[in-house]
């Protein structure tokens, strides 16, 4: 499946592992809860590890682990759950997270301009038709106020 990463289409190499499912080979993301519980085991896993955050998850829980995490997924339960935007901003602004931040779940291609500006650099859509729309929507505006964000 294709996703958008750094404003380009690219192949997705990651798989989310549900809390009750066994780990698989390759790059995997897990919930914050599983990360917190099984951190030592996960760090032994041969490939890259990512964490999927729900909007209510506290970003600061990951503060000391960020160097070990290659991907953070922000999972939108619904497009109007704006907490994901602040989570991205905290990860980039306060914690200096340099890895990939990816939007997943139920959100709109129309939101990628804002998401990009708060530091989200990858976008996964369940409907692949949204990819082209999202690619152009990243550049809906050529100007911006708020110099403190991207």
């Amino acid at each position: 499946m294709q996703i958008i990463k750094d404003q380009q289409l690219s192949e997705n190499t990651w798989r989310f592992i549900a809390d009750d499912a066994p780990l698989t080979n390759g790059n995997i993301t897990v919930s914050l809860q599983r990360w917190t519980q099984d951190k030592a085991q996960l760090l032994q896993h041969g490939a890259n590890i990512g964490v999927r955050l729900a909007p209510a998850d506290l970003v600061e829980t990951l503060a000391d682990d960020l160097s070990a995490i290659s991907l953070i997924e922000l999972n939108f339960p619904a497009f109007n759950d704006g907490r994901c935007f602040s989570q991205a901003r905290l990860l980039r602004g306060h914690y200096g997270y340099q890895g990939e931040i990816r939007a997943v779940g139920n959100y709109m291609a129309d939101q990628v301009f804002y998401l990009h500006r708060v530091g989200v650099n990858a976008f996964e859509f369940s409907n692949p038709q949204h990819l082209d729309l999202a690619l152009s929507a990243i550049n809906d505006f050529s100007v911006r106020y708020q110099p403190s964000t991207l």
């Binding site: 497009f79 109007n80 759950d81 704006g82 907490r83 935007f85 602040s86 989570q87 901003r89 602004g93 306060h94 709109m108 129309d110 939101q111 301009f113 804002y114 998401l115 500006r117 708060v118 809906d140 505006f141 050529s142 100007v143 911006r144 106020y145 708020q146 403190s148 964000t149 991207l150």
Partner: protein
């Protein structure tokens, strides 16, 4: 007033293009109803009882004459020849066709106007004192800070999907004319003991179903920290505000449930982390102030004697002068209110012809600018004494000189059941009925300073809970009933009104208001204003009269 630079202009034009694409996708079935709803609301577009309603932003109420003419043009070309001023200084059109809204917005953009974030769960238009820059009691002109906040709020990427709508008001005067304490964030310009001017920041105020008065979170904030402090409050709210229940989602509930002390601590902690990255420099503040320099006042204006002459020789003019004008900080000038509360017209409504004529009057008599007020009137803020009489004659000919500013017929009123799909009861027809019952201007002037606010439902768009007399339309088994509150205020001594008793039927409401006014006149001592009398005597005498036959 603030003039757009290339960035500002590009931004609103690109916003029109974005919305045009979204509207086309919706009409083609490529964008779902829920998704388009959120997107159109953030462009000011509601779907109402009869047609879409479009709310146009008037940032802190400031309008140039060419913008007034554009509002007139839009009223003619896209609507039914009129528009409506709201309690947040904005303008509403009740009849635009959905598919033509992108064209309408493109026309607005040609005169530096837009409808961005006038609705939706996002940062709304920043409102202010309609007498900013001209009033006699000002610590500092709030408008440069309003514009700084306007730019910061516009398309803020982090705060477009808040738990609920978010409103900010700024006042620079001792007398609060902007209902600052009833906003999600209220900002007062204040002076500290060292004589420095900064901000007192309040949070958690709001009207609607659960009216709450804002509380101070920062007694004195240095100017350079304005945006970092606002951002800290918004981030705390965005992350912690309730999203499970629409009626508990405003920041007022978060502040209440968290407690002021803990809420403030959360904000302060966030602010300390970001404040040095978001400093407002003195240069940037000065550059913004330069956009609001005073007009070229006539230094000889104070020598005029004609105003006093007309005042003593024309009793009608004298009454209008007393009620519909305000003192000005420059000798020889007055601020002139344009009453949108003519007895036979819905409160806040203005026709395209009136708008065009008013634009000409603004050009001739008030440096080409006008302001909208949160009580749904307009102001020509810089009128020379020698022009006041002729301006009055012209406003009178336009039916814009009803001498009722600040009186009982200067009612705040929402569109109610006539237009709004949320309303439970009509408000415009009740306003008309009250106007007809109070057609004796001497009686109205005798009653003096009193504010009636009337909303057609508990969402409270007309701020009924802070009216000296509040009227709230409720639905009782399909019938329109009205609940009355007394003693509310949106000014310095902000207060939520107390409920008088059971709601009254539609055919009784006007009489009940008359009875309340009669009780006031019976009980008032000397020059005591309505609000003072209510405070002194309590609700009982009013109850006794209104419910005497129940």
């Amino acid at each position: 007033m603030y003039q757009y630079n290339e960035l500002d202009q590009t931004l609103i034009e690109e916003r029109v293009n974005q919305f045009r694409g979204q509207t086309e996708r919706f009409l083609n079935g490529e964008l779902g109803t829920d998704e388009f709803r959120a997107l159109r609301l953030m462009n000011g577009l509601y779907i109402q009882t009869h047609a879409p309603m479009l709310r146009v932003a008037i940032p802190y109420g400031l309008l140039a004459s060419r913008q007034l003419r554009m509002l007139a043009k839009v009223a003619r070309d896209y609507d039914k020849g009129y528009c409506h001023f709201t309690t947040r200084q904005n303008v509403q059109y009740n009849w635009p066709a959905l598919e033509r809204v992108p064209d309408l917005l493109a026309e607005l953009a040609t005169v530096q106007m837009h409808a961005i974030q006038t609705s939706g769960n996002c940062l709304r238009n920043t409102t202010s004192d309609h007498l900013a820059g001209v009033c006699v009691d000002e610590i500092e002109d709030p408008r440069p800070y309003c514009e700084i906040i306007r730019q910061w709020t516009t398309l803020h990427p982090e705060f477009a999907y808040l738990p609920r709508k978010f409103k900010i008001a700024v006042s620079g005067s001792e007398h609060d004319r902007a209902a600052v304490q009833l906003h999600d964030i209220g900002v007062y310009l204040v002076q500290n003991d060292a004589g420095e001017v900064g901000f007192r920041v309040l949070a958690g105020g709001g009207l609607g179903r659960t009216p709450i008065i804002g509380q101070t979170v920062k007694p004195f904030l240095e100017k350079k920290y304005l945006l970092s402090y606002l951002e800290a409050i918004l981030r705390v709210y965005n992350l912690l505000g309730r999203r499970d229940n629409k009626y508990k989602a405003r920041i007022k509930i978060l502040v209440k449930e968290t407690g002021l002390e803990k809420f403030t601590a959360l904000v302060e902690a966030e602010w300390l982390r970001i404040r040095d990255q978001m400093l407002l420099s003195d240069e940037s503040i000065d550059a913004m102030k330069a956009q609001f320099t005073p007009p070229a006042y006539d230094t000889g204006a104070g020598n005029d004697t004609s105003l006093a002459h007309h005042q003593s020789s024309d009793v009608h003019f004298a009454k209008w002068l007393k009620y519909n004008t305000a003192d000005h900080r420059i000798p020889g000038y007055r601020a002139v209110f344009v009453s949108l509360k003519a007895p036979d017209s819905p409160p806040g409504d203005i026709t395209a012809d009136q708008l065009d004529a008013l634009a000409d009057l603004a050009d001739t008599y008030s440096f080409g600018e006008a302001r909208s007020t949160h009580r749904q009137n307009l102001v020509l803020a810089d009128v020379k004494h020698s022009d006041v009489y002729v301006l009055w004659q012209k406003l009178d000919a336009l039916k814009l000189a009803t001498p009722n500013i600040g009186t009982v017929t200067d009612m705040i009123c929402c569109p109610g059941l006539d237009f709004c799909s949320l309303a439970n009861a009509s408000s415009i027809s009740i306003a008309k009925e009250i106007n007809e019952a109070l057609d004796d201007m001497d009686y109205v002037h005798d009653i003096g300073d009193i504010k009636i606010n009337m909303s057609g439902c508990m969402n409270g768009c007309a701020h009924q809970s802070v009216g000296h007399i509040g009227i709230l339309g409720v639905d009782k088994k399909g019938e329109e009933w009205y609940q009355i509150t007394l003693g509310g205020s949106s000014e310095n001594e902000a207060a939520i009104g107390d409920r008088l008793g059971p709601s009254v039927a539609k055919h009784q409401i006007t009489n009940a208001i008359k009875q309340i006014l009669d009780v006031y006149l019976q009980h008032r001592l000397d020059d005591e204003a309505f609000l003072q009398t209510v405070k002194r005597v309590g609700l009982e005498p009013f109850k006794a009269k209104v419910y005497a036959n129940h």
